[in-house]
């Protein structure tokens, strides 16, 4: 008869351990808040309507499709042909798009591009940069790599006087990196586009959930600029932020967003710092009965989000073109190889655009924002 107390005591012990662990997990989770709220619910009268009017104008400007490439100064000298460029591919879709378009841009001036792949690990990134050093190309181009990962190779490339160009990295030009496109300073339009559309569309009565991906450092300025302009143009509006771990992408982001919206039913707009965060969310919103309660806008639209906009499941996106970025790189290198300053390229503001159902250009993720960009660049380079 001793077995019963033994079983019961074991069960009780196990239950207590489980309860303690579960409660500690929940308590631990409760220690930090995932959201940050800001804004005032009180309307500020004429100041508020002035902000909305300003947002309306800004949104209207960004909704216009640009017709000019961001550089207008011709090269003015013959561009030497036969240059070899090494492109280090970061391994994600946007880098592959950059590579494809870099090949097209380089080809138009008689250059060739060699792609060096990485597997996403710091070791593979370093190995790729070492390969670029050993290759002794005329220039090295990459996207999204933090300087710390390839600092040693950068010094070697600098010593060899090989130009290094980057994009979409949370860094500043100098000390070996000659040009950074879409760096933190260039992302002001992202914040303007998100904030102006929400302020305009809501008439200054938005309560916005900003869904962010903090592990991507380059998105930090997007959030800062959004908050800055949102506060400026939408004075009576509120905002909250929810951070998403990168491991949730493609899996439980819809669940997280839907849960947050259910817990905060007064939210009526959702802004995503990256388009991929919205993938799968419209269906989850519909299943939860929230489809018509919130409007969404994403930064860096992609094929999925343009399809959502076309079908009315999402409302807006900030279009940013990886098609045109490589042409600025080639322009900068052409100026370097002809002994000119690349100041015009450093100042170049790549085209951004506010996309809604009314002005949707394409449901492809690869459309150029300036339709005749190739012809315009070739004209600058004397190849037109």
């Amino acid at each position: 008869m001793t077995s019963t107390p033994t079983r019961w005591s074991r069960a009780v012990r196990a239950a207590i351990v489980t309860a303690l662990l579960a409660v500690s997990a929940l308590a631990l989770a409760a220690c930090g808040g995932n959201s940050a709220s800001s804004g005032s619910s009180s309307s500020t009268g004429s100041a508020g309507s002035a902000g909305v009017s300003a947002a309306d104008k800004v949104a209207a400007q960004w909704a216009q499709r640009p017709t000019r490439i961001p550089v207008t100064q011709p090269i003015g000298k013959p561009i030497p042909s036969g240059k070899r460029i090494d492109f280090i591919n970061c391994g994600v879709t946007s880098c592959t798009i950059l590579y494809k378009n870099l090949v097209a841009a380089a080809k138009s001036v008689g250059w060739t591009v060699r792609q060096i792949n990485t597997a996403g690990t710091p070791e593979s990134v370093q190995a790729a940069w070492k390969q670029a050093v050993n290759d002794r190309p005329d220039a090295v181009i990459a996207s999204g790599f933090p300087r710390a990962v390839f600092a040693q190779q950068l010094k070697q490339l600098q010593a060899l006087k090989i130009p290094v160009l980057e994009s979409s990295t949370d860094d500043v030009e100098g000390n070996g990196i000659d040009l950074i496109l879409n760096g933190p300073k260039d992302l002001r339009p992202s914040g303007q586009i998100l904030a102006s559309w929400i302020a305009k569309d809501s008439g200054g009565k938005a309560n916005t959930l900003y869904v962010d991906l903090p592990s991507f450092g380059i998105l930090k300025p997007v959030r800062q600029f959004f908050q800055q302009y949102y506060a400026q143009w939408c004075k009576g509006c509120k905002s909250q932020t929810v951070d998403i771990p990168v491991t949730a992408i493609g899996k439980d982001v819809p669940d997280r967003v839907v849960s947050y919206l259910r817990a905060h039913p007064d939210i009526n707009y959702v802004a995503y710092s990256l388009g991929v965060l919205n993938v799968g969310v419209p269906a989850a919103l519909r299943q939860a009965g929230l489809a018509n309660k919130v409007k969404t806008i994403v930064t860096v639209g992609d094929a999925e989000n343009y399809q959502y906009i076309a079908s009315g499941q999402s409302q807006a996106a900030m279009a940013f073109s990886n098609v045109e970025t490589p042409w600025v790189w080639v322009d900068a290198l052409a100026r370097t190889f002809t002994g000119q300053s690349i100041a015009v390229d450093r100042k170049a503001q790549l085209p951004f655009m506010l996309i809604t159902k009314n002005n949707l250009i394409s449901t492809s993720s690869e459309f150029p924002i300036v339709a005749s960009y190739q012809q315009q660049w070739k004209t600058l380079w004397g190849k037109g």
């Binding site: 077995s3 079983r7 074991r10 069960a11 196990a14 239950a15 351990v17 489980t18 662990l21 579960a22 500690s24 997990a25 929940l26 631990l28 989770a29 409760a30 930090g32 808040g33 995932n34 959201s35 879709t93 903090p214 929810v242 951070d243 998403i244 771990p245 949730a248 992408i249 493609g250 899996k251 439980d252 819809p254 669940d255 997280r256 839907v258 849960s259 947050y260 259910r262 817990a263 905060h264 993938v279 799968g280 419209p282 269906a283 989850a284 519909r286 299943q287 939860a288 009965g289 992609d302 094929a303 999925e304 399809q307 959502y308 079908s311 499941q313 449901t363 492809s364 993720s365 690869e366």
Partner: protein, 355 residues
């Protein structure tokens, strides 16, 4: 000697390890069924539900949350179920995530870009998944490569093929966002979407095969002791081959359902599901069947982990809290199971000492 005898021997041998023979005979069946050791995760689950009901009373204990948990975890459940049969036969299929991706981009391509229609597109995607299963079976059984390494390798090949074909870009098209294709995953019946039904039907089918057929007993026998099973004329190689085909087909179904749910063919769709599938399958093995990989235990595990994700999101906890929750729940459930394995030995020693 029949193969069922071998399966029964292996099954008895396995029960000898993970249950307490003397105490179990004295305990009523209903008490064993409801014991903490048998369904510990269910009690943990109830505790968690209670905690969230107190923590977020306005939103958690609602029908919407119930539907949300089921709807949002159906694909995870399908991919987790896909590895149950191979694991029962002690075969790892690490390529399921990539098979899921491949079937997803295949169905997206054919449904959105070729005009062949939804049914043929689904058929082609399942055919591709079947081919992956045959490839895995050939490498594991035909070439005798360890399944862990073999399916890691075939997964890598599938990933390369996906990248080569899709250029790492999602396949989209308005056809994927509207019926009939969207109906595969987005049809709503009383708040529950069709993938929940697929999950329940699949779990029921796997339960039937594993628990109610000779094939199921042979699969377990193959998993518990392949040499002994082979000596008893169980066609272990054929079962391992078929288990890999089953996992590939179920992963293919999961890929099609996921593509229909998000409305595009993503070249990375399956990547986040691999660890979740194995975590659920292993946690599920601690439930109901005392150490055996089984369907309903896996479903319970998926829903337990999903309840945590949804509850923590409703409570607006930090982004890392879900990982903390998952880690702790896995440790607790597996610790309870390891206790079950050791206790009978202690009890046996005590019994011997008493005698």
């Amino acid at each position: 000697m029949s193969t069922d005898t071998a399966a029964a021997h292996a099954s008895a041998s396995e029960r000898h390890v993970v249950t307490r023979p003397r105490a179990a005979r004295r305990t009523p069946q209903w008490r064993r069924a409801l014991s903490f050791g048998n369904i510990g995760a269910v009690y943990v689950w109830l505790l968690i539900i209670l905690a969230f009901t107190v923590w977020v009373p306005g939103t958690f204990a609602t029908r919407t949350t119930f539907e949300q948990i089921l709807n949002n975890n159906a694909v995870t459940g399908l991919i987790a179920l896909s590895v149950v049969i191979p694991l029962a036969a002690r075969v790892f299929d690490l390529s399921v995530a990539f098979t899921m991706t491949l079937s997803g981009v295949t169905v997206a391509h054919f449904a959105a870009q070729t005009g062949v229609g939804v049914a043929p597109a689904v058929g082609i995607a399942l055919g591709v998944a079947l081919l992956i299963g045959v490839l895995n079976g050939f490498v594991v059984v035909g070439l005798g490569v360890d399944s862990f390494i073999a399916t890691l390798a075939t997964g890598s090949l599938i990933k390369a093929f996906i990248t080569m074909v899709t250029n790492d870009q999602s396949i989209t098209g308005v056809q994927l966002l509207r019926p009939p294709f969207s109906s595969i995953a987005q049809t709503d019946v009383a708040g529950l979407t069709l993938p929940v039904l697929y999950l329940l039907v699949t779990a029921g089918a796997i339960w039937f095969v594993l628990e109610r057929t000779a094939t199921g007993r042979r699969l377990y026998a193959t998993g518990f002791n392949p040499d002994a099973a082979r000596l008893q004329r169980v066609a272990t190689d054929r079962l391992r081959f078929l288990s890999l085909i089953t996992s590939a087909l179920l992963a293919g179904v999961a890929g099609i359902v996921f593509t229909s749910a998000i409305g595009s063919g993503s070249p990375t769709a399956g990547d986040p599901y691999l660890l979740a599938a194995y975590a659920a399958a292993f946690l599920g093995a601690t439930q109901l069947r005392g150490g055996r990989f089984n369907a309903w235990g896996t479903v319970i595990a998926v829903l337990l982990l999903g309840t945590g994700t949804t509850g923590l999101s409703l409570a607006s906890t930090p982004q890392w809290s879900t990982s903390v929750f998952t880690g702790i729940v896995l440790i607790v459930a597996l610790a309870v199971t390891s206790g079950r394995v050791r206790v009978p030995q202690r009890m046996r020693r005590r019994a011997v000492a008493t005698d």
